[in-house]
């Protein structure tokens, strides 16, 4: 069985255990060429670990993956030449200038000096290129990381929480750069804990929670397939805690009206049994007509830079 185009990323049962922590649990997904793929999940859900395995810096405990169809170590090294990626924070030598830092990445990627200037220009760091990395603001650091990612004009761009810690203006700049890359036909894989960020930019999404993929598909499919329910109980805190531990819950949010939960399946009876098993008895359980998307949108209006811990686990602060 062959597909017309080779998948850019293809994972099968990818797992990673750190001592007692199962950080990534049987993750399987496929990213096709040209997709802007959002990897959405709260902090600690295994996004960085998954990307680390794809990039060859973390050894999978189990499972396998292919990049551009390549699976063997030597093939993968060649396939990675078609990828540009940053993980977690921008990682550079603090005492070297932005330009020298790009020089290191450029040498590894076999890219010339002219391209370094081009990329500095694109991210608006041309003037600051000669300054030491440690003097950069967080936004500049993120932009330098984007520049490093673009150096080799990669077919696949992998960004791990690219908007993390940025102000709204910085986020917009990052979004614009991503959009430009997408328009040029690049495949983009980006992780985020912000649903609205993913919704705005992505064509496809996988929702990950505690290392497991809860749902995946086009953004429209995933949002439509989710069931939202409104729950009430005497002890709201206990209810929120119990829902956070419920494997079927994609998002949990306490509202003035009760606790709003997004579910991977519409089996409300199973949810009720789970809660009753924990000694939590519901005074109210109702499927919501309001879509999950609406609920999330409302949330993001409160505070643009809210973290997904709050969104996904939903405790109002």
């Amino acid at each position: 069985m062959t597909t017309a185009r080779t998948a850019v990323i293809d994972t099968h049962g990818l797992s990673k255990r750190f001592g007692g922590v199962l950080a990534v649990d049987q993750v399987s997904f496929t990213v096709e060429p040209g997709q802007v793929f959002g990897f959405l999940g709260p902090n600690g859900s295994g996004k960085t670990t998954t990307i680390g395995m794809l990039m060859g810096i973390i050894r999978p405990t189990a499972g396998s993956f292919r990049l551009f169809g390549a699976g063997a170590p030597r093939e993968l090294l060649a396939a990675r030449a078609r990828v540009g990626a940053t993980l977690e924070t921008p990682n550079f030598h603090p005492h070297l200038s932005g330009r020298d830092n790009l020089g290191i990445a450029a040498a590894i990627k076999g890219v010339g000096a002219a391209r370094i200037e081009e990329c500095l220009e694109i991210v608006g760091l041309r003037d600051r290129g000669k300054h030491r990395f440690r003097t950069y603001s967080l936004g500049m650091k993120q932009r330098l990381a984007l520049a490093a990612t673009m150096l080799n004009d990669p077919e696949l761009v992998v960004l791990d929480e690219p908007a993390n810690g940025l102000d709204p203006q910085g986020m917009k700049e990052v979004r614009d750069i991503i959009r430009i890359l997408a328009d040029r036909g690049k495949t983009i894989f980006l992780s985020s804990h912000l649903l609205w960020e993913v919704e705005r930019m992505c064509t496809h999404v996988a929702i990950v929670r505690k290392g497991r993929i809860m749902a995946s598909g086009t953004v429209a499919e995933v949002v439509a397939s989710e069931t939202a329910a409104l729950l009430r109980a005497d002890d709201t805190d206990a209810l929120v805690a119990a829902l956070e531990d419920y494997d079927g819950a994609i998002s949990v949010r306490a509202t003035g009206d009760g606790v709003l939960v997004g579910l991977a399946s519409d089996d409300l009876a199973a949810l009720n049994r789970h809660l009753a098993g924990l000694g939590i008895h519901l005074s109210h359980l109702a499927r919501q007509r309001r879509s999950l998307e609406d609920a999330f949108m409302e949330l993001t209006r409160d505070d643009g830079a809210e973290s997904m811990t709050e969104i996904a686990t939903g405790v109002d602060s």
Binding site: G52, M55, N91, H93, H95, I104, I108
Partner: protein, 273 residues
């Protein structure tokens, strides 16, 4: 070949602006200049006191004696932060193999160790040259060459040990602590063991620090020095000093170095970055 050139280029960019490199190397140069000036002053009225070839012995024993330790410290400062800054990780993401990353660090060693080798020879040797009478004796005897070779081997031993500790501990502060403490502990433990069992000396000399110390022992390289030592030992009722053959120590140093480098590759390849 092109891969090696890429690694060399990458490491050159890093070293060119490295403050650690300047500070540690500057310190070593200062130590050598200080030693040479002190020796010249002591020999002000009798230039033959600090003249080649005899001066090699003290140059190699004292300022060069510190070379391997400083080279090790510099190695740690150049390797360990790559893990804390996660630049090692980024380099692999950018396309280096994990082994290639470490190969780059071996190139760094290949670049800095010759510099550490040359500094005492140039500064000390240069300082002792004016007082030397070239007509009398060769400026370098075969014993001096042997001692120089032992110095080179000690640099390799400490450089590779430091590489291993840096890769193992991945943070320069703690790595430096472990590195310095190890040599100190080995000395203390060796002394303690010898108090209880005199015969242990022959074995203890083959621990990494013992190998280095013995290779830096002038008795190993200069017959007249050994005769002197043995005469003074005889006065104290002790038997002659028993030293291994230099080649055995050089071989041990080479084997330890290979082991440290091998373990470093193993660690880097095995572990997550």
């Amino acid at each position: 070949m092109t891969r090696l050139r890429i690694l060399a280029r990458v490491e050159a960019i890093k070293i060119r602006r490295s403050r650690s490199f300047l500070v540690v190397l500057g310190l070593f140069i200062l130590i050598n200049v200080f030693f040479t000036l002190t020796s010249l002053r002591a020999a002000a009225n009798n230039p033959f006191l600090f003249a080649l070839p005899d001066a090699w012995q003290s140059i190699l024993e004292i300022p060069a004696g510190l070379g391997p330790l400083l080279a090790g410290v510099l190695t740690i400062l150049l390797v360990a932060p790559e893990f804390t800054w996660k630049t090692a990780r980024q380099s692999v993401i950018d396309g280096l193999g994990k082994g290639e990353f470490l190969l780059g660090k071996l190139l760094v060693l290949a670049a800095i160790l010759p510099v550490f080798f040359a500094i005492p020879l140039l500064i000390g040797g240069g300082g002792a040259l004016p007082g030397s009478d070239a007509g009398q004796a060769p400026l370098i005897r075969s014993e001096d060459l042997g001692y120089m070779f032992a110095y080179a081997m000690r640099l390799v031993l400490f450089g590779s040990a430091a590489l291993f500790v840096a890769v193992l501990i991945r943070a320069s502060g703690p790595a430096m602590g472990v590195f310095l403490l190890y040599w100190l502990l080995e000395t203390i433990v060796s002394e303690a063991i010898q108090v209880m069992w005199r015969g242990a000396e022959g074995v203890l000399r083959f621990l990494p620090g013992g190998v280095s110390d013995t290779l830096n022992d002038t008795n190993l390289h200069y017959a007249n020095e050994l005769a002197w030592t043995n005469a003074s030992r005889a006065e104290r009722g002790l038997g002659p000093l028993e030293l291994p053959e230099p080649w055995m120590l050089l071989l041990a140093a080479a084997l330890y170095s290979a082991l440290f480098v091998g373990l470093s590759f193993h660690l880097v390849r095995r572990r997550d970055l």
